[in-house]
Each structure stands twice: as structure tokens, then as C-alpha cells.
Symmetry: C2
Subunit: 192 residues, 2 copies
């Protein structure tokens, strides 16, 4: 059996996003994705359980990095400073391919209710990972859950800024996510 190759994962994701864009998510089969990526169907299934999982590839990695960044933040860091550390750590998994694929990925999700549902559950998973890491630091409830939700909002807003922004702006995902987090924190004072 061939060694598991990270580049195969990336090739499968690129092939899938291209096909979803060309012919729609529903009309795209695993066989077509595998063929476009130049691998067999059984290789596909060694990497993903089904085509939907392709689009949330990296959720476990992101959750782990967010939680690790929060856990490793200095003991005197505030809840949002810990969330910021989590976002910085997670940005290690957000490279040029993520940015490049971002707009097509977003279009595929917007065109499919099934993908919207999977994407929504992904956000719930990221929030849960951050909340658990904050609670483990001794942040009380509901502050931990609130900070985790702000982290998810900052992640999503930062991602949109990053993929929609000027391509000559080479500041990474972390810059945009941390800017969004600061803006959200500032907005808490105008809630009422």
C-alpha cells in the first residue's frame, strides 16, 4: 500500500472544488474527483469518507491548533488574549492553497444546502474546541462560551477578508483574524 501523502489530500481537494464549480456539488461523483486528481477511488476513500468531508478537511487540525494555542497562552492572558493565541496557532494551517481555493470553496458552499449544513456544523465544532480549552484554563461559563463564539466569528470574518482582499496584500490569515477579533471586542461596548 502506498504511503499516505499529504499532497494527495490537497490534490483531491483542488480537483473537487474545481468540479463543484464546473458542474455543481450534487452532480459531482467521487469517481470523477479521483479521476481528476489522478488517483483511484480506493485512494480517495483512504483520505475521505465521502465527498462532503472534502470541504471540511482540516476541521480536526484547526480544532486541535485552536485548542493548543489557547492552552499554551500565558497564565495571565485574558480569555480573548487566549483566543487570539489560538487563532495565531491555527493560522499555521491556513496557507496559500487555502487562500487560492477560498473563493471557489465559498461559492460551492453557497450553492448547496448540504454543504451549508456541514459547514455550519464545522463552526459548532470549532466553537466547542475553543470553549473546552478556555474552560480548562479556568475561564468560567458563560464567558468561555462567549469568547469561543467571538473566536469563531473572528475566524470567519478574517477568512472572508483574507480571501476577498487585494492579492498584493500578503499579510496572512492571522492578521485578518486578529483584526476581526479586536473589532468584535470593541463592538461589545456598544451592545446596550
Amino acid at each position: 500500500m502506498a504511503r499516505w501523502q499529504p499532497e494527495t489530500t490537497e490534490r483531491l481537494i483542488v480537483a473537487a472544488v474545481d468540479l463543484f464549480g464546473e458542474q455543481g456539488y450534487d452532480a459531482t461523483t467521487v469517481a470523477q474527483i479521483a479521476e481528476r486528481a489522478g488517483v483511484t477511488k480506493s485512494t480517495f476513500f483512504r483520505h475521505f469518507s465521502d465527498k462532503r468531508e472534502l470541504l471540511v478537511a482540516g476541521q480536526e487540525t484547526l480544532s486541535r491548533l485552536l485548542a493548543e494555542g489557547i492552552a499554551d497562552a500565558p497564565a495571565n492572558a485574558s480569555p480573548l488574549q487566549a483566543v487570539a493565541a489560538g487563532l495565531e496557532r491555527a493560522s499555521g494551517a491556513m496557507g496559500p492553497t487555502n487562500r487560492e481555493l477560498g473563493p471557489r470553496l465559498k461559492a460551492a458552499v453557497e450553492a448547496s444546502t448540504e454543504l451549508q449544513e456541514r459547514d455550519a456544523l464545522k463552526s459548532v465544532g470549532l466553537a466547542a474546541a475553543m470553549a473546552a480549552a478556555l474552560l480548562a484554563r479556568g475561564v468560567p461559563d458563560p464567558t468561555a462560551h462567549l469568547a469561543a463564539e467571538l473566536g469563531v466569528l473572528a475566524f470567519k470574518r478574517g477568512f472572508t477578508q483574507w480571501i476577498d482582499g487585494d492579492r498584493s496584500d500578503d499579510r496572512g490569515f492571522a492578521h485578518h483574524a486578529l483584526t476581526a477579533l479586536r473589532e468584535l471586542h470593541a463592538a461589545t461596548t456598544s451592545l446596550g
Copy 2:
């Protein structure tokens, strides 16, 4: 054709939640749900597009009520006061049957990834409805989105309190949702 009856909707939901609890979501068919509710399959499909939609029944009603409550809040209401008005309005759709079915519904969702996905998308829909209503009031972004997320968190936390709490406590859903909203607002001062 029979007149569309609200009580049929409720009977179908009760039958479905009971069957999901007895034999699991995946093993339950539309035919079984219809039979348990004492209606035909075609009656089922006049009320719901599939069995999954049963569990998010009321999402459109809730979104509408949340948005109307926010729109009708006094002009000088703060963003969170408007959200509170939305939650109060939405509580009109949260009656004894919702409370009675709550624990079984929660168990069915926890046991099925498919239902978790649909449930996550429901939260996204409620947040979007509240954010749009707040933006229409002139609340700027990102305050509008932040207030909407607090509204969703308050809705979910209040719902859990309401269905898990002492049954002799007859304060309605609104009491629990507004308490949760106040707690979340208080927690914003300890974020960072």
C-alpha cells in the same frame, strides 16, 4: 383536499420524535411517522419535505418572530434591548408542547450527525434573521452580527434551562432566554 391543520403538524412532530427515540433517526421512515400520527404519507408530504425537516419545524416562524420583535422595539432601544424584544416575541412560538418534546428532541439530535448538521444550520438561520433586522434598524456592523450571535446563544441556553429545569417552575421560555442574555452581556466585561 383537506384543510391544512396546525394540529396535524404537531401530531407528526410528536410521532417522529417518539419514533426517533424508540428506534433511532436513521431507522425511522416517513411511512412509519405518518402511520403513528394516523395520517397518510401524502399528508406528511403536504406538511414537510422530508423527515429531517420535521425537527427544524418552526424555524421560519421563529426567524420571523425574532425579526419582527427586533423591528418593533422602541427607536431608542439598544442593540441588545432589541434582541431581547425579539426573544420575547419568539417565545410566543415556544409553548408547552415544545417544552414537553424538548428533552427527546435534544436526545435525537445528539444521536445523529445528520440532525446535528441541520440543527447547526438552523442556528445560522436564526442569527442571520436577527442580524438583518438589527442592520435594518441602523445598528452598524460588526455590532449587529455580534448582538445576533448573543441572541442565538441566549436562545439556546435559555431553551436548555427551560427544558431541563424543574417542571414546577412555570416561568416561560422568555424568562430563561432573557436571563441568559443578561448573563452573556455581563460576561462581555470579563473577556479581555
